[in-house]
Chain length 201, copies 2
Amino acid sequence: MAYRETPMVKQRKLAQKSGLLRAAESLVREGGFAALTIQAVASKAGVGVGTVYRYFNNKDELSTEVFRRATIRELEAVKLALSAELSVAVRLADAAEVFAQRAFAAPKLAWALIAEPVDPAVDLARLEYRKAYSALFEAVIAEGVDSGVLVSQTPSLSAAALVGAMAESLLGPLDHPSCDSLTIVALREFCLRAVGVLYKP
Amino acid sequence: MAYRETPMVKQRKLAQKSGLLRAAESLVREGGFAALTIQAVASKAGVGVGTVYRYFNNKDELSTEVFRRATIRELEAVKLALSAELSVAVRLADAAEVFAQRAFAAPKLAWALIAEPVDPAVDLARLEYRKAYSALFEAVIAEGVDSGVLVSQTPSLSAAALVGAMAESLLGPLDHPSCDSLTIVALREFCLRAVGVLYKP
DNA sequence: TAAAGAAGTGAATCATGATTCACTTCTTTA
DNA sequence: TAAAGAAGTGAATCATGATTCACTTCTTTA
């Protein structure tokens, strides 16, 4: 055999792939998914267009991967808040707050992840992750209902509604750079009311 | 002068235009905006492609018009519920119910209006109408806060959140043809809680 | 150093619909 | 009935990016 992939080559390939993903994400941070073209990714990463296709079968695969990675980071942050050692009510409000806080920290990215018109493939991923968010909230709401600290309700509907409320209520404020903290407080309160907190220990 | 538009011609042109809009909307009802191509509209309306361009400057104008007309119908229905001679709380819940009821009556259209990935031009219209919904709810929430039947809150945020909650919570149920009425009841309750009803006269 | 096996390249091609435009058909009026 | 002024037509063209592929360059091994 005259050629075999050495660890060094393997590592360089990994670095190349993650470099492409970085370039792609930074384009999305700047101009949303509309700015994510193969040409732009290639030139930002300093490679030829063809090279991008060595690492991703097609554009959908690249955009979806960018979406997925960014969204998982957000999801994990929310998950963390939801799994703290605190009361159900506080965990729910904290989760909403974390979501909002992070959105305000990177408004364009948040908008791209939440609401930008995107390729159907990316939109499919969006739906998936909306469900993932929903599932996280559903579990905590169900816990609250079972333990009697939340009013009786349909956790799956409340969870989806909460996710929708969080996303939609930020869309306006994300445009303006003002009053983030007021928005966050109002969102916390909305979520707490929506979920029907009975006892506030 | 050898030619002048007679009333008959004028009427025929109006009929032609509304025929094209009908054809377009029926395509959207069947397959969402993805199914809305100029070719399809022309053939469904029984005219040539070129004719479509006699009535609409470009595709964006046509799709936006379809979106606008359909959405205004929904908006008016919600507006009607919000302006009934009933308590603030009941009006809000009724409005959510009307929204949901109508969505279940035409699920594909509802999905197309609420969540389908669409051309940026249509999406812009979507944002506008989200704001319009929001404004309607905001006024009623503000009224409730002022008159002391709702807990103190930021009406603009609550309204946007409510609109988001209504849209998002229907996305799942719209896929399945089951349990519409349970969903609607759960949504009503969610909205009532979210908005913090103090007195229930 | 030579040959094999990739990775890298970017101009050329493709795909998908929108859009145009030279032409035909219809309507109106004198 | 003839000429003007539209409306109607659909094959051909355009626009926008994604995708390909023949070729070049790099890496590895014997």
